[in-house]
């Protein structure tokens, strides 16, 4: 087995405005993101040799072909819950590293606002016995929150405070981002006292639903120089798929996610990162819920197990801290169109590594991490990617 490190480069990216895009369908959003990427890379759609297409709501690669009018090229449609887009990127990178294709498009899209529902419902339409407990996403992650508070002896007030601080941070970052769905700061009081969705998670602890699309153009590093100087390089990927271990093993504790731990380790090993807390410059993580982001801090080896509270309270993960997380507002404020989110995260890390993140800019970034998590505590799909500048 070989590492993917430094074998794939991103030479262009695009990202639509995320939010309530009533006047845009999936095709419109794909055109917005892909054409921005084409322009950024200096190419046209006819130059694309193959594409990987991430979406949970649409079937086959045809919607992408239809949107950008490719002519009978190979398009693989990927679905892996919330890890969809990162999974699509990873597989596209494998094809490029294997030299099967020279110029590949990775695009993700989700049109969620036509459903008429304002929060993640979890979907699921397979015929079944219908005896499973209805556990929509807020309730799923509340299971982790309640056990975390219990195991680490956090009172309700203490727990709500640290969750609230994560919400405040992401809202502050989102307010600096013109493409974000929500661009409004909130106070800690507002976060703590918000209406309860699934105890103890309130309105601001939960990401909403958004429409959006994001795209990337990738090639090999030796070809990347022909397109631009400030391309970024893939340093590592991780993909860890759970199989219900947490529900079948009555000794799973609900306060950590093995899938994140495993995907993180895979990616760190490929990238040669030995001390994640010190070496990772910044990260985009899957803050579908505030508690999820908190547990990710520990699972990705940035905070010691059980001690994320200290780092949250010291501001370690804010823009000014030692490891800024979700500099673009995260899922919470940028939005979470499922099939696009992984690529949107890479988009922000791309801008950051190029020094183009404006008021959100992190100083001297070296390694950028993205993390996506789909599923429910007890069984997740987790995808991690790591990026860096060229030497």
């Amino acid at each position: 087995m070989e590492s993917i490190k430094d074998k794939v480069a991103i030479i262009g990216m695009g990202c639509s405005k995320f939010g309530e895009r009533w006047d845009s369908d999936a095709q419109d959003l794909l055109v917005e993101a892909c054409y921005e990427a084409f322009e950024d890379a200096g190419i046209e759609s006819k130059d694309i040799q193959a594409a990987w297409f991430g979406t949970t709501g649409l079937a086959t690669g045809q919607p992408l072909a239809h949107a950008i009018k490719t002519e009978y090229i190979p398009i693989t449609r990927v679905e892996n819950a919330c890890a969809t887009a990162t999974d699509a990127m990873m597989n596209a990178c494998h094809a490029v590293a294997a030299k099967v294709y020279d110029l590949v498009l990775v695009a993700g899209v989700e049109k969620l606002k036509d459903s008429g529902v304002g929060y993640l419902t979890g979907g699921g339409g397979q015929p079944s016995s219908q005896t499973g407990a209805p556990v929509p996403p807020p309730a799923q992650f509340a299971l982790a929150a309640n056990r975390y508070f219990h195991d680490y002896s956090l009172s309700y007030e203490e727990g709500k405070k640290i969750l609230g601080m994560i919400d405040v941070k992401n809202h502050r970052n989102g307010a600096l981002n013109p493409k974000a769905h929500f661009q409004r700061e909130i106070t800690l009081e507002q976060a703590i006292n918000a209406p309860m969705m699934a105890f103890p998670l309130g309105l601001y602890d939960c990401c909403g639903v958004s429409d959006g699309s994001a795209a990337a153009i990738i090639t090999r590093p030796e070809l990347a120089r022909n397109f631009r100087d400030d391309y970024i390089l893939a340093k590592g990927f991780g993909l860890a798929v759970g199989g219900q271990q947490g529900m079948l093993r009555d000794y799973y504790d609900f306060t950590h996610f093995d899938e994140t731990i495993n995907a993180g380790r895979m990616a760190y090993e490929a990238a040669g990162i030995k001390n994640p807390r010190k070496e990772v410059s910044m990260a985009e993580v899957h803050d579908c819920f505030s508690i999820t982001e908190l547990i990710i801090y520990e699972d990705m080896q940035w905070s010691p197990r059980g001690r994320a509270k200290e780092d949250i309270e010291s501001g370690f993960f804010t823009l000014e801290g030692g490891l800024p997380v979700n500099t673009d507002g995260g899922l919470k404020c940028f939005g979470h169109p499922i099939g696009a989110s992984g690529i949107r995260m890479i988009y922000e890390m791309y801008l950051q590594l190029q020094g183009k993140a404006g008021p959100r800019q992190v100083k001297n970034p070296k390694f950028a991490v993205t993390h996506n998590l789909g599923g429910t505590p007890g069984s997740f799909t987790c995808a991690v990617s790591i990026w860096g500048c060229r030497d």
Binding site: Y119, P127, S128, S129, Q130, T131, A133, P134, V135, P136, P138, A139, Q140, A142, L143, A144, N146, R147, H150, P195, M196, M197, A198, F199, G243, Q244, Q245, M247, L248, R249, D250, Y252, F254
Partner: protein, 464 residues
């Protein structure tokens, strides 16, 4: 001689009572939760009845009710599956009359005497109601009883019985009626209840050559407290010493289950040698004479009527009970099940069967093909989780999941002895929902959709 080998009962946790706003009566009545019905209550009584007994010897299960959730689909098959009885048994429903329970009892006894069954369980449950303001509306309560009949280890022999049939339409319901209809009160009582039940008892006493003073305790159906008191006098019994408390102020008249629940009350107070009169009414009347044996002192302890009656929660307002009765469809949104999927998963769903890996010992629910821990394939032993207690490992209280039980309490349960599952918590107060809180399992209805009732197990706070 054939008789009762074991008994079980179920009284719903929630009661209308003095503190209930909008109730206005100084009595308590049992009210089934929104997710309970006659089938779920019969299962609860059946599980209680099986405490300390082997399921292998039970050759039949009868389900008696006037409020079956189905017009066509056997309730007894569902009850037998949920109680986790065997496959090679006779299941049968007895419906359409308040006497369904005692008629089922007759059939059970006849089967045992004929040698065609070793043990037969009779379950009876009802959720009857009458028009607001009526006698029945005030007196009716929800509940269930289960009696296991056999001829070995008998705690109360059935010495004899007498039945009469009478064609009189004094109370009735036709398809689509949710409330019982009756003819004029005076007629109903004079030609029905007050005439026929004493006739059956009189026929029994002649057969058995006994008189009222030979009866230690009498357990008999009564539509209201007043009529029940009147009947005691008509039967020549001393209401202070010879009649079990009819519980109109604690539970209410539980329809087809009522006479059997009063019988269980008598058994719970009985001593060896006691003679118990059981009488029931509906389109005629049944009367039985039982004699308690010394085996009763060896009966493994169970909750029974006493235990479930004492474990109660008074509803805050009467409107809640109204909403629950209206939501007999289970209260959850969602579609009908795929019948083939549900059938395939029936052991896991109806019987709450988990699997214990024979190689590493980890109990996993539902049972897998390949063990999650040691990856051994197809080496399993069945474990029943429905009669295990457990603890809430973690929980969520969901305000957006829908349904009528808001917030919806979802709990990850770790069972005593091993195994874990995720379920909706029922019969709960929000303040009680905490990590490590103790629970036990109860069979409930999830939803009704497409005319089908979808049942499953839920944890509930332990009924102390």
């Amino acid at each position: 001689m054939a008789g009762i080998v074991s008994y079980g009962a179920w009284v719903p946790r929630f009661r209308l009572g003095k503190e209930t706003a909008g109730w206005g009566m100084p009595i308590e009545k049992a009210v089934a939760n929104y997710d309970e019905d006659s089938i779920t209550m019969a299962v609860a009584a059946g599980m209680d009845c099986m405490t300390g007994f082997d399921r292998d010897a039970v050759d039949g299960l009868f389900f008696a009710t006037t409020t079956s959730p189905y017009i066509e689909k056997q309730g007894a098959a569902t009850v037998a599956a949920a109680v986790d009885l065997g496959k090679n048994i006779v299941t049968s429903d007895a419906t359409n009359s308040l006497r369904a329970s005692t008629l089922a009892m007759r059939s059970a006894l006849d089967a045992i005497k004929a040698g065609s069954a070793r043990q037969v369980m009779v379950t009876a449950a009802d959720t009857r109601s009458g028009p607001p303001g009526s006698d029945l509306f005030q007196a009716a309560g929800d509940g269930a009883a289960a009696l296991l009949f056999g001829d070995k280890g008998v705690i109360a022999n059935v010495l004899g019985s007498h039945s009469i049939s009478e064609e009189v339409i004094d109370l009735w319901r036709a398809e689509g009626d949710t409330q019982v209809r009756t003819w004029e009160d005076r007629f109903v009582y004079d030609t029905g209840y007050l005439k026929l039940l004493p006739e059956a008892v009189s026929g029994l006493m002649q057969k058995m050559k006994i008189t009222p003073k030979d009866i230690t305790k009498a357990a008999f159906y009564g539509p209201t407290a007043r009529r029940h008191g009147e009947m005691a006098r008509l039967l020549g019994l001393d209401p202070k010493t010879q009649v079990v408390n009819p519980l109109f102020d604690q539970m209410g008249n539980t329809g087809a289950a009522y006479a059997l629940m009063l019988l269980i009350e008598a058994l719970e107070e009985a001593k060896p040698g006691d003679k118990i009169l059981l009488a029931n009414y509906g389109d005629g009347a049944d009367a039985f004479l039982l004699e308690v044996t010394s085996e009763i002192t060896k009966l493994p302890p169970r909750r029974g009527l006493k235990g479930y009656l004492a474990s109660k929660r008074i509803l805050r307002n009467a409107g809640i009970a109204g909403t629950w009765k209206g939501a007999r469809g289970g209260g959850l949104s969602g579609g009908p099940p795929s019948i083939s999927a549900r059938w395939r998963e029936r052991d896991e769903i109806d019987r709450l069967h988990a699997g214990k890996c024979l190689s590493c010992g980890l109990i996993q629910f539902p049972q897998q093909r390949v063990c999650s821990r040691c990856h051994t394939k197809d080496q399993w032993e069945t474990v029943r989780l429905s009669d295990k207690k457990g603890k809430i490992f973690t929980f969520s209280l969901d305000n957006v999941a829908g349904g009528i039980d808001i917030p919806l309490a979802i709990t990850v349960i770790n069972f005593d002895g091993g195994g874990r599952g995720i379920f909706m918590l029922t019969d709960r107060e929000v303040e009680e929902v905490k990590c490590d809180a103790p629970i036990e399992m109860t069979f409930r209805k999830l939803r009704s959709s497409g005319g089908m009732h979808n049942y499953y197990w839920k944890p509930m706070p332990v009924r102390a």
